[in-house]
Every structure is written in structure tokens, then in C-alpha cells.
Symmetry: C2
Subunit: 548 residues, 2 copies
Amino acid sequence: MLRVIPMGGVAEIGKNMTLIEQDGEILIIDCGLMFPEEEMLGVDIVINDFRYLIERADRVRGIILTHGHEDHIGALPYLLRDLNVPIWGTRLTIGLVDAKLAEWGLVDYTTKHVIEAGERVEIGPFAIDTMHVSHSIPDGIGLGIHTKYGIIVHTGDYKLDPTPVDGRMTDFAGFERLGDQGVLLLITDTTNVERPGHVPSERIVGQTFHDVFARAERRVIIATFASNIHRIQQALDVSAHFGRRVAILGRSMAANTDIAAELGYLNVPEGIRIAVPEIDFLAGHQVTILTTGSQGEPMSALSLMATEEHKKVQIQPGDTVIISATPIPGNEDLVHRTINHLFRLGADVVYHPLAPVHVSGHAYQDEQKLMYSLVRPRYVIPFHGERRHIAHYAKVIQALGHPAERILRLEPGDILELDGDDARLAGRIDGGAIMVDGLGVGDVSHVVLRDRQHLSQDGILVAVITVDRATGKVVAGPEIVSRGFVYMQEAESLIEEAKQRIQAELAQAGETPPDWATIKMDVRASLSKFLFAITGRQPMIIPIIMEV
Amino acid sequence: MLRVIPMGGVAEIGKNMTLIEQDGEILIIDCGLMFPEEEMLGVDIVINDFRYLIERADRVRGIILTHGHEDHIGALPYLLRDLNVPIWGTRLTIGLVDAKLAEWGLVDYTTKHVIEAGERVEIGPFAIDTMHVSHSIPDGIGLGIHTKYGIIVHTGDYKLDPTPVDGRMTDFAGFERLGDQGVLLLITDTTNVERPGHVPSERIVGQTFHDVFARAERRVIIATFASNIHRIQQALDVSAHFGRRVAILGRSMAANTDIAAELGYLNVPEGIRIAVPEIDFLAGHQVTILTTGSQGEPMSALSLMATEEHKKVQIQPGDTVIISATPIPGNEDLVHRTINHLFRLGADVVYHPLAPVHVSGHAYQDEQKLMYSLVRPRYVIPFHGERRHIAHYAKVIQALGHPAERILRLEPGDILELDGDDARLAGRIDGGAIMVDGLGVGDVSHVVLRDRQHLSQDGILVAVITVDRATGKVVAGPEIVSRGFVYMQEAESLIEEAKQRIQAELAQAGETPPDWATIKMDVRASLSKFLFAITGRQPMIIPIIMEV
């Protein structure tokens, strides 16, 4: 029996990890992290629940990685420390994995196999064909997984750039050859199915850089994703062409550039790279600065420059800033704010959609139609997209003649069972989202999030009294401490009155011995009502009673 | 001397309120509210600082309102309660103002003058021509303000819809007549200057409604802005055409519909309106539901339907939902999440940009060029936009031959002084953003916001001890209470160890009498270090010492 289990749990389905299981032997495809949703306050990242795998540790044959983005490799340390299985990936992907594992002291802990796209690898009972795919990071692959029950094609994250910067095209022929053999199941990236046509080639961004550089009289600052090596290559090339030297800002940008250069994925023209302090010794027209921060992340180099808080680089009037990215949904506001600040400082800002400064890494609708037509699968799992993308993809391939009942819309953790002919849901595993906050994995519960939400809106008020255990008399307090509720220095009379309310509640509670649980509830209710009437706010109220 | 002062303070400049001052006499244009920025946790709305006006109460001649959107009328109650001045506005605008003032018990408190677009009104020393403008709410006006020193044209929020739903075109001729007389200053809406061409006519949305209704077999649910009366009209018309009856969900949608219908801005076909419970007695194809929630606002009717929490309406498979709006930047994620939920429940969702279900209320670039060319001003204040829009608008009109030095890029609160010839900055007033949280206006300080931010990320831990004042001995505690930090029920040993740390700090402090301030600091430092080492988090730590 063949099983396919997409993991996931935040907005997108199956993107971060997929399990393929044949007669109990398990292959893991990718092991990425997810980014927290807006209401997951304070949460750093989200990972899948690995218990299903850990319980079956002896049957996990390995992990194959499609490419080196965080949402495909970022959760590896969390899995590997509990489940030491070998990893397969292309050279750049493994290079990025090594850098990540080194930070965790896990670098020599796991067996890694470097593969070349086009190669066939054997992992447990699975023979896997690998096909190069074009994406926003080099060295991505799609997979053709040969199983007893038929071939599963997993596209990875792909697009069909006809003129890629590194000259390496998506391996159409490889996908088509699999199609010719008959494909049981296509698991496919649907991210951009809402966009008609084709993704423009990455090269148009290079053309934009060229145009902008040609008229820039002072420094050019390019913000982009640290992993977009082709974009960085184009920035280096155009800088070399115009006689500019290049400084790199941002830890991840510097690290990725080093790895890619060392592994031969990035060609850094001789002598072009300068250290950041050298910027100040060159004229503006001799300088390019490559930086992170294209998403307006508050602590990124570009944001700090925009708010004049960067220690080493100050924006100067006449600088040109290229935001070579589009905002990820939810980041629009941060990005626009950064752009506004840069204009305020006198920079000229070149950004999407006013100039073609970015292209997506994911196939548009026509490319997805082509992929479908090359593979001609019996079943399809639309994948790596939100439900709206999956619904839309289903419409698109139905229009190509694919039967509706052979489009499998899975939810994260769903177990799909396939034999050669039929496909059916066979229960689900708990693949859900585990929140990571600091060092804690899974210890932030919904109670904690609800409290953070409450605290973030109206703050907290703590009221303490000390009472004599024997007599029930108050011997100290009430003391009131509050944060995030009102500006305490200007709220003296409010706090004073709140103390009187507490005393009134205590006075009413005549009983001996006093019922402190009830008194706490009454104090909380009384304060809550009083504070809401005066301020219209509902801080969290915590009465504490100390007994002596 | 003529002074122009744009107010504002959040992202957009001058949008909510502008002051025109001639020899000390003040005209106020609009009095709107702003929406809080992302880091203004718990803040409900933001208003301008009105002190400049209140200090000059005897010289304020009146308020003229360009249209009835919240960001142009929403702060009126906050101003009026301190400064009772007469208001001028068109019939629908005053109708919406009345509804707002009624909620504050201010409805008969202020003199209101209803004007008809095209009319000339006199407010203090200013004669003001009013020109009808098309926008996403009916009855908007632009202003031609005749001053001693020349004419100021204020466009209001406008676009040039060539085929408006109510047949009322933007008054090109009115703007042009002012241009013919010679305009000193143009204050103009730049919101959509980044978009080339013209806004499509509102009617294309009606056409989309028609197409969607024609193929919808069950209920159609349309989510849009409650103030977009033309959109609501089109929804009513297409429902009537297809024999559907219409239920309205959402308090603001119902209230605005009633006001617009009563004042003759909305033509509600006889018998079409049904109460919400009547939905259940009709077949799906007989029902349209009009609702708020097009921005994915968590407590809106549409969001509650999407998460299956709405008390009266459940989404049924086969329902069609039209999101007749585009997400305001920052809301994309919420909107997408709502769409995903709706798909999950089996609805078909029609949304931007997959179908033309929304058009903007603000002129695109070519319309802005036309407006500029009609008015031919000596000076321009690009306005009602963020800095990126203002920078872009400046480029656009420079390309039309407008001299760069006569484009005035003002910041909120800047005082622009004009005589007939020259314009100069003459200081600034404090027009800044005042945060409103519940009933408190301006009492949420940056300290409070910083605390809310801290609380939202890592929560709080309160440690209390009671000590004997005379001996310095601890007589009760330490007691630890925490919220939003860790799930307390599973953190017993962590809390126990934290208590031991506190005791260790207390034991170290041998002095008599103990220096409680220093002890508190040491306890905080010790706990902070300990908790960070174990959890990687930095909760707010509040030590409290009670003395008996």
C-alpha cells in the first residue's frame, strides 16, 4: 500500500514536508519551517509535529530536499536531533543545510548525499529521478519517485524561466519522460495559479538594474532576498559593468553569498567586493550596497537605514534604493513605510510595481498547464498553496479535461492511500503546527497566546494584599502595579480609587475565615467594572493575596 | 497673510484635516480620524491634536466637509465637544454626520448647513465654490476657496468616472472655470498616482455582479464597504433583475443603507429587502446577502461566517461569495484567510484580481494629469497620499512642465505661508497623532505602547514577597504569577526554581535594614537571566515587596 501525507498547518498546505510511505517504509520530502500567523504573538517559527515519524524511526529511509529555502530545510535541526536519518540534496542545498546544522552543532552528525540534478538516487525502496527546476534559488529539483504502485511526480517549487541567469533550464524533457511512462500522482506547486500567463524571466530584473544604474549619480542600494543568488549575480554584474564596487550588508546576505561563491553558484568579479567601512572612501557613483530588508523587517539593515538607526550606513540625498522584491502578503504596510522613510531622507526609490524589479519564483498559470500536460497524471494533489489556490488550480486542470474526482484536495495530516487504481482518504495523523518560541518547542499553548493577545490590547493590573491568616485582617496593601494599561504617572487618582474599591470589597466580606477565592473573584469583577467605566479598557486583572 | 496647514500624522499626509487661515481667520476642511499603525497595540483610532484650534476658538469660522467617509468626518465629535463651530456639507455627508453625532448626544448641539454641489458658500472671509466629484461614496465635493491672495483649489477625494452609477459626473467645468480665473494653490489627492491610466468605471463592477448572478445557483453573498452606496445600489439592482431578495448584515451596512435610502441616494426596489431570519424560508437562488467584512476584519459578519461562528448565517456548499473590495495594505493576510475558509466550507469565492469586483475611489495618474491641467495652479501641495505618492506625483507634474520649486511637500503640522507671489514654510504646529484607546484620548503614551509590545511577545511574571518591616525577614512568599509567558500548568518545576532564585537573592542581601530597591533590581536581573537561559524568552518581570 502506498501512502502520501502532506504536512503543514499554517496557511499553505503540504509545502514544508510531505511523506511518501510504501508498505511502511517512509521517504520524507523537505523539512521546512513555517512562519507564524499574525495572532501567534511572540512566536518565532512554526514547525510540523514530528511524532508520527519519531514513532516510526526505524522505518524512515531518508530525507530528500527539493531546494534550499527556509520553508523547505529550516526545520531540519528540530527533526534531526530526534531522528538521525540521511539527507539527499543538490550541492547548493546541502551547502546551505551544512551552514544551518553548523549553528546547531549538528554538522557532522548526519549523513548527507550530494546529488546532481538529472541523477537517479535510491532511497530505501524508492528509485528517484531528479529533474532540475528553475526557481528563485539555484539548484532546485523536481522528483520522479518510482514506487511499486506507480510513479509520483513532485514538482518542487518551480517555474519555467526560458532564459535563466545561469543558463540552466527547467528539465522539461525529464518531466515529459516520466509522463510517457505513466504517472500515478502529480504533487504540484500551485502558488501562482491565480496569475495568467508566464512568469517574466529573471533577466528582466537585470535589465531594470541596468537602466537604474545608468542614470544613478550616487550610491545604489539594492535590497533583496538573501537566498536569491541569481538576483545577487545580476547586481554584481551590473555593478561591474558600471565600475561600482559592492558592499554586502546583513548577516544572511553575507553568509549566503559566501556559500554560493565557494560552491561556484555565484561568480564574484575579481576585486569587486569591499568591506562596509570602505564605502566612505569611495565616491557615490562607485558604490553599490547589497542588503537584506526587502520585506521591511523592522530590524533589517534597510529598515534601520530608513529610520536613521543603522550604525554604519546613512542614507544620503540622491542615493537610489531598489527594493528588488514584492511584499509577502501581510508585509505591505512595513514595506511601504520603509519606502516612505527613504523618500523622506531624499533617496529615490525604485520598487514594484512601478518598475520590473522582481519576478516570482513560482510558475504562473500557463506554466502550470504546461507542467500538467507534460506529466499527464492519473491523480493530482494541488499543493504548496492556500485553499484558494488549490480551488483555482482544480478549475484550471478540469478545463484541461482532468476529471474532478481525481483531484485530491488534502488537508495537512490527511493520509491518502493509493494502489495502482484507487485513491482514498484513510484517516489523518497529527501533523499540526507546533509553535517555537525562543528555546521552547510546543510549550506556548493557546492559553498563552490568548493571554498575550489580551495583554497586548489593554495591559495588566496586579493588585496585592497581605492578610493575617488568623484574623483575616489586611495587614499590608492593597498595592497596585500596572503595565500597558494607562500611563501610571498620570493615573494616580484612578489607582487610588481602585484601591478604595478593593478595600470596599474586603470590607463587605465579613465572614471568618474569609473565603479568599470568592473575594478574589469579587475584587476582579469590581475593578473590571470600575476601570471599564472610567477608561473604556479591560486590562487583565490579577488579584494576589499573601497570607502571613 | 494666507496660511495652509495640513494635519495628519500616521502614514498619509493632510488627508484628515487641513486648515486655511487668512489674516488669522480659520477655515477647517474635513475632520477625520486615522487608523492606528501596526505597533499601536490596543489603540482604537488616532486623531489630530486640536490644541492649535482650541486656543484660537474665537477665530475658527467653520468646518467644511468634502465627503462622508470616516477619515474625513470621524473625528468631529472629538473636536466639537471642545470647539462648537458650524459645519457645512452636502446632504448625504450631513446625514452621516448626524448619525455619528447622535451616538455622542451632540446632534442638536452644532449648527449644520446643507449645501448642494455647485453652490457657492460663504464661511467667514472665504467664498467657496463647490464642485461635485465622483468618489466611492456619493455626494463628494471639491472646493474652490477664494481668498484675498488668490484661489485655493482642494480636490477632495475624487476620480473622474465617465459613467457614474448615479449619473452625476465630476464637475470638470467647475474646476476649469477656477483654472481660468487663475489658481494660486492646488491641494490634490495623490493616492493612486502610481497607477497609470484611468480608474475603470464603477459600472464594470455591476457587470461582474450580473455575470456572477447569472451563473449562481444558490445564495450570493456580497461583502463590500458599508459606505459604498453606489456598490450597494448595483447589488440591489442586479438582485432585483434576477428575482432575488436582499438581506443586510452588519450594523454599519444597515445604518448607511437606511440613511442613503431616506435621503434619496439609494433606490431600494419595492419589497426587495428582507430581514435576516427570512433567508431560511427562501430557496438559495432567491437570496442575496449584503454584508460588511470585505477587509477580513475578525469580528465582521463575513469573517464570522467564514469561521462558522456567525449566529444567523451559515455558509452552505454552493454559495457564491463576492469580495467586492481590495484589501487595504496590511489586511491582505486577513482577507486571504477569510477566502480560504470560505473555500473550505464549499463556497465559490469571487475576488480581486481574479474578477473585476472592485474599483478604486481615487483618480489614477491620467486623471490626476487632467485635473492638474484643468486647474493650472501656481503652487501644488501633493496630498492625501504617503510620501512615495507625493514623490511620484511631483515627477508626474514636473513632466507636465510644473516647476519643481513650486511643488510643496509638506509634513503634517507644517505652516505654509503664501502671499500672492511667494510661498514659504513658517514653522510648524503640533498637529500630531493623538491615540484614542477606549474612552481615553491621548493617555496612551509611548511607555504604555512599549509595555504592550513587550507583554505581547513574552508575557509577564510577577513575583511577590511579604517582609517584616522591622526584621527584614520574609514572612510570606515568594509567590509567582505569570501570564503569556509559559503554560503554567506544565511549568511547575520552572516556577519552583524561579522561587529558589528569589530566595537566593534575598539570602545574599544581608544588610539591615535591607535595601529593597537594590534587592528588587537583583531579583529582576537574576530571574531574567535564569528564565532566558531556560526558555529563550524575556518576559516582563515585576518584583513586588509588601511590608508588614
